[in-house]
Point group: C2
Chain length 357, copies 2
Amino acid sequence: MATLDQVGHESESQWEGRALSRTSKKQGGGKLLSAGPTMADLARLAGLSKITVSRALGDSPLVNPETRERIRELAQKHGYKFNISARNLRLRHSHTVAVIVEMKPSSDRTMFDPYPLGLLGGISQELTAAGYSVLLTTRQGAAVAAVQAADGLILLGQGVHQDAVHRFHKLGVPMVVWGAGLKGDSHVVVGSDNRLGGAVVAEYFFRLGRRRPVFIGNPSHPEIHERLNGFVAALGAHAIKPLLMRRDEFTPDSGTGAVHSLHARGVDFDAIFACSDLLAMGAIRGIQEVGRSVPGDVSVVGYDDMPLGASFLPALSSVHQDWQEGGILLARKVLALIRGESAASETLPVSLVVRST
Amino acid sequence: MATLDQVGHESESQWEGRALSRTSKKQGGGKLLSAGPTMADLARLAGLSKITVSRALGDSPLVNPETRERIRELAQKHGYKFNISARNLRLRHSHTVAVIVEMKPSSDRTMFDPYPLGLLGGISQELTAAGYSVLLTTRQGAAVAAVQAADGLILLGQGVHQDAVHRFHKLGVPMVVWGAGLKGDSHVVVGSDNRLGGAVVAEYFFRLGRRRPVFIGNPSHPEIHERLNGFVAALGAHAIKPLLMRRDEFTPDSGTGAVHSLHARGVDFDAIFACSDLLAMGAIRGIQEVGRSVPGDVSVVGYDDMPLGASFLPALSSVHQDWQEGGILLARKVLALIRGESAASETLPVSLVVRST
DNA sequence: TCAAGTCATGGTAACGGTATCATGTGCGTG
DNA sequence: CACGCACATGATACCGTTACCATGACTTGA
């Protein structure tokens, strides 16, 4: 929209202060504010009215192309800066979408390291391209007036709690949430297809001839619960029943521990689906420690496809999700809602990246 | 400042539309816009003037405490929303700081995974607390009008190139940059003390009795160059000269490759300082592959203290930096500059976390 | 008793854009 | 020649807030 590509172009003349050229009705005075020129100033300079300047800068077809060019140059030359607040006030919207990131204290943030950043990148890219600003906040800062003024809201964070969702919902602003969509949800949810992720791994194991698979992870996270569901359902179709090994921590240690525990209990298993790459890497170490081999004796698949996993030895197979794509989709949904269109919840496909394990 | 803590408080009555209660001079008409009440509306409701409402909501000492309370309740009850655009227009500032993140295409982004997120958290926390909004953009989006309107700028990204810095500097807005400060820099730079990081590792190696240390990394990044400088200088004080093993990639593979290369060339070494944890972990694997042990034969220290490193086996020693603290500092510096105070470049201390390697 | 000094409140004019409804020109056509 | 129409531009009135400078009531002290 009113995107003036001025970065990098040096203004050739300094704006000399306002008071002189201003049609001040009361003050003839000399207090020279060091503010830039306004549309009214450009208008006077060009011998036109400010509305024409507004139209020229806004690419309106109503102005003569030559006039537009002339005004453009003038704006350039005098270092004109468009005032967004004024436009937003007049237009009665903020052209802003608030992104609220729920940062957990820090404990299992590990799991989400690569995640919000990619998401944020996609969101920022798409929203900026549409002429919207991205207002970043944490949950604590969400009470601030600027957030309330946003035209739209994006909620980020694992297992965003329902109460938080409702709280923000009350602001009466278009809202889109990242995560696992529960069936009864009234709001729009975008997330990667965790169920599919589980199913894909199940099929993979089945094709490899694995018949005694184990799932490692913490299914109390809604997203991970879905992975488990998909995994169990797909295996069930082949009359296979996987074992659930519950682990709360998403660290390599935890994965190693899980395997040792299985081994100690004499459990017979030939495949492991870990719901995080870190867990998977730990599990592989555990498997090797108890004298078995990957992928010879046991197949292992992780989740998230961390860059690290690819250069792990043996190179880790993992379920890949495109965070950036997710961010873009989130952004598109809010924009649609803001425009008054409807938007449905959507899940993004995931893909299994098969490497050595 | 004008922070109205309204999230979560449900407004008890719906605002019934404007036209009726409005002192419209021309239109007596019925077009009922579904916009919320304004200060003027509250004023009429309270039998006061809008300026008094403004003062009450703004905690001005000029209004009677009882009046203030009354207005507060009224605002609450009618779901009043403060209009930031109007205030910003009037006050001639945006109360906004733009954060420009330079996202590399994706190649060695690995290195920076945990980094911008922590930084961003700190920035957001501090800025929000001060009543400022955080406007997030990538470099591509930085030409947008909203960025130009920001009261301040924070530039994030490894080795932010000088040209970019100058480009943004021309906007004439207070700016703070994250990274390694070069001596001749005119702008304010905040970064962690890479030189100290190198020195600390050097001392650690020396105390352990290591005399043939190797540095692995890519010193063409300014920040990493500093680490190398500190490392070399501190070792130099003990008349030790480290070997530089240049590696462009920051992956484990690259680290493993480096060690194999050293081994193949018959280089004698007893300590490795890798300028990234991933590199360090790869190096450890390489060391083990060529039949030597960590930390028995070779000591290894990484950089960044990734959560992963702590649960690596053997647990990785690493140089730790507090990203969040860095973000807070960045925020404080811009705020100071915005207030017209001066601010100096500053480096944050780092600490060596000694684990098993 | 009156000047001076609080305290609480109000009138008015900005801040810098854009929507709405004119206005004025030139041109083609019946 | 008058009419309608497209085109280019303008006058005016807001959008919702706060700064500036009153104004009136009531207190205080000489």
